[in-house]
Symmetry: C2
Subunit: 456 residues, 2 copies
């Protein structure tokens, strides 16, 4: 019988995270303050605990995973690497398609890999409460889960329209003991001002980030901090368990290094988690095609510009060296909420600049078509974000068929879609449209980058 | 580090199902037709394919799992056996609590274990289409999944009120290619008659079963059959992979036989799946407490009567020898839809009559309280049905603490609750009530059994 399930024992679980910053051909540029000077660890101290700031700026190649973090991760890790034999057969391809199943965590995605680590480091540092923002709720529920297990308070500012239209991840957060409120809210100065001007605003991630940071920095006891679910270096670091496990699983299964590595990319965290250990192999000379996949509605790597930009609309974050569509960019409404971010993780952006990546953008209709093919062959229901990786894997498998090549393709199955079934219903009812970004809207948005500090 | 994840390799996956009928101290009584005579395989032929009827009446101890069925089961099996270390710590109990995680199948429950087998045997027999009924949609989505993968049509009659109030499992069925319609429907004679009399009826499982059987038996080409997700002997048989794997995992982990085995019981299938291999050990002399857990709203084993009764309201099924509350019984509205069945699998009932089981009934408020404790310690969200097994495990662990005994407890984590979050919201909002069945309502309902054929 075909070996479709490649498992690792707990003993084979990685004991350290891999830091790509140690191996990139060109060093990462530093984040800047609004006056254009490089940011110091001290500037970040009101927002993040110092132990995470140290990881953020570290150039150590390996950083040990603390035992208590490992113990929680091992409730669902190592995750299986699976071979999509039924999909291969359906596509009539000589390619072997493997997927790393990150949907098996209790919150249903890869997000708890970093949520658990962040909650633990904050608690170690004496922090009592974490604040964060969430859109559709993947990140918010992952942080609620982690804080619940580790015993630290959690406050989630959820974009109001999602709070009202997507009630289920909110229930998850309540079950795990977090306080989840709609943003903008009366709880912050930012929120109150916005509500006064626009009482009916649907809210945005940018507003929610500002509110969460305001609460964290405003706590005079100094015991509250803010947590971010993507983009930053330490978040990418925590996700590398995905790729480290996968590399070992492919080796154990006799596949060796894959020909193609694929992940969907919004802020970049699941893509980074899977790909960074393989980017290291590529830097060492291996011939691997590494593909971040983004929606045509938010084509940060494929059509954006590499520049210094803010992480949020209100410019409360430092300027990060990254591919961006401009920090005021609002993408067309697509169902993959996790891929609607205007920027990209600096580590992923630098790897792209260094020519290590081959970014791809795909329309959501192609992605849902791929998801249906997946569900009807492999059986599981992917998250809207994950459909992008599946569609790219199908493209690569079809290319292998045309070329007659027995390639190995591996992608990150970043999450399940069980709390996103209304998106599938919309697709099945023919209500989804191609939402590719028009050129003029792109140009208008990118041109605002010219005014940023650090941009020539 | 504590070993909390006990895995089996694919090589250790059971190759045969275990048939408890071969080992019960007293033989199963045969099903009866409405005139009180034992039913023959031929009578069942218009409803089920002959290869499954053979399994239904078999007294062979081991029945080989066909290779193609095994190949699909192995997409998510063997499932992990996990130790609930965080819950143990929270309860401060010397007991070790293990749970068999059946929530990892794509439809999210143990149901596909039999859905895949049934779809495959039907296809082997030349059947082109399966019909079934579903309440909340666990079984309907499992059969849709199985039929989609195996390549056979699937028509699901979904109880109308669930069809309207629980849209998500319906979307799952559509994704997997099944045709799901609300029942009562215009598609059957039964449905049309009911709609004429009661156009606003919310529907019931009894009506949906009648419609599904009518469509199956009414297909003149003879290529349509009906599938049932619980109660029948062949369904229990297919679920025994759960207990066979668990027995091996406990042995591999050095635990040996457990002291207590627990499963929630509606029609009986996940309970049977886990417990039957352990009931065999008990028949052989092992000292094991085996507990089916039912809701106090539908206390079939704890307060019902062992008698011959019909499987549905309309009396279209044979009379089965089972514990029942009467085939017209409608339990109070509780959220564990899968535990609202009036009867119990004949194999489970006979084991209870033979004194091999210690049934327990629990109120839903205790169950949701247990579920919250679970979510906040172990992290995952159980299905409303599964909360009953968790609450019973907590009771047993607390008893072990009082007795100062290091017991091993194992229960079946039959499914996740990600598509049942509205039930949790109702609990968190204080909207759920104790729905224990009043004595007079019980007596009234049970008294109708007196009129059944085969009842003294």
């Amino acid at each position: 019988m075909e070996k479709t399930n490649i498992l690792l024992s707990g003993r084979e679980m990685p004991r350290s995270w891999y830091n790509l910053a140690a191996d990139l051909p060109n060093p990462l540029r530093p984040p800047l303050t609004a006056d254009g000077t490089p940011i110091t660890p001290e500037t970040m101290a009101p927002i993040f605990p110092m132990n995470l700031i140290e990881q953020e700026v570290s150039s150590e190649r390996w950083i040990e995973i603390p035992e208590p973090v490992l113990a929680i991760l091992m409730r669902w890790r190592p995750t299986p690497l699976r071979r999509a034999v039924a999909l291969e057969k359906h596509l009539n391809t000589p390619a072997r398609i493997y997927y790393k199943d990150e949907s098996l965590s209790p919150p249903g995605s890869h997000k708890p890999n970093t949520a658990v680590a962040q909650a633990w480091y904050n608690k170690e540092f004496g922090i009592k409460k974490l604040t964060t923002e969430t859109g559709a709720g993947q990140w918010g529920s992952a942080l609620a889960y982690a804080c619940g297990l580790i015993g630290i308070e959690c406050k989630v500012y959820m974009v109001r329209i999602s709070f009202e239209q997507k009630p289920f991840r909110k229930v998850l957060m309540r079950i795990w003991g977090a306080d989840c409120i709609p943003s903008p809210s009366e709880a912050s100065k930012t929120g109150r001002e916005i509500l006064k001007k626009m009482p009916d605003t649907p809210g945005s991630l940018g507003i929610a980030i500002s509110e969460a940071i305001e609460e964290a920095t405003g706590d005079e006891s100094g015991r509250t901090r803010y947590a971010l679910g993507s983009v930053l270096n330490h978040v990418m670091l925590h996700q590398t368990v995905i790729g480290l496990e996968t590399r070992k699983q492919l080796k154990n299964a006799g596949v060796g290094l894959p020909h193609v590595v694929i992940g969907c990319a919004g802020g970049g965290s699941n893509f980074a988690g899977l790909s960074f250990p393989f980017i290291a192999e590529k830097i060492d000379g291996a011939d691997i095609t590494i593909i971040p996949v983004e929606p045509t509605a938010c084509p940060t790597l494929t059509r954006g510009r590499f520049a210094y930009d803010y992480g949020d609309v209100a410019k409360t974050t430092p300027l990060l060296p990254m591919h961006s569509l401009g920090h005021t960019f609002v993408p067309p409404g697509i169902h993959a909420g996790g891929l609607r971010y205007h920027g990209m993780a600096p580590l992923v952006s630098q790897a792209a600049v260094d020519g290590l990546l081959e970014p791809m953008s795909l329309d959501q209709l192609e992605c849902y078509r791929a998801a249906l093919t997946w569900a009807q062959t492999e059986g599981s229901i992917p998250a809207p974000e994950t459909t992008h990786a599946i569609a790219a894997a199908i493209r690569e498998a079809e290319k292998a068929r045309e070329e007659g090549k027995d390639k190995s393709i591996v992608f990150c199955y970043s999450g399940h879609g069980l709390l996103d079934l209304s998106a599938y219903e919309a697709y099945l009812d023919g209500k989804l449209v191609d939402s590719t970004l028009p050129e003029e809207r792109l140009q208008e948005s990118i041109s605002e980058l010219d005014g940023n500090p650090g941009v020539d």
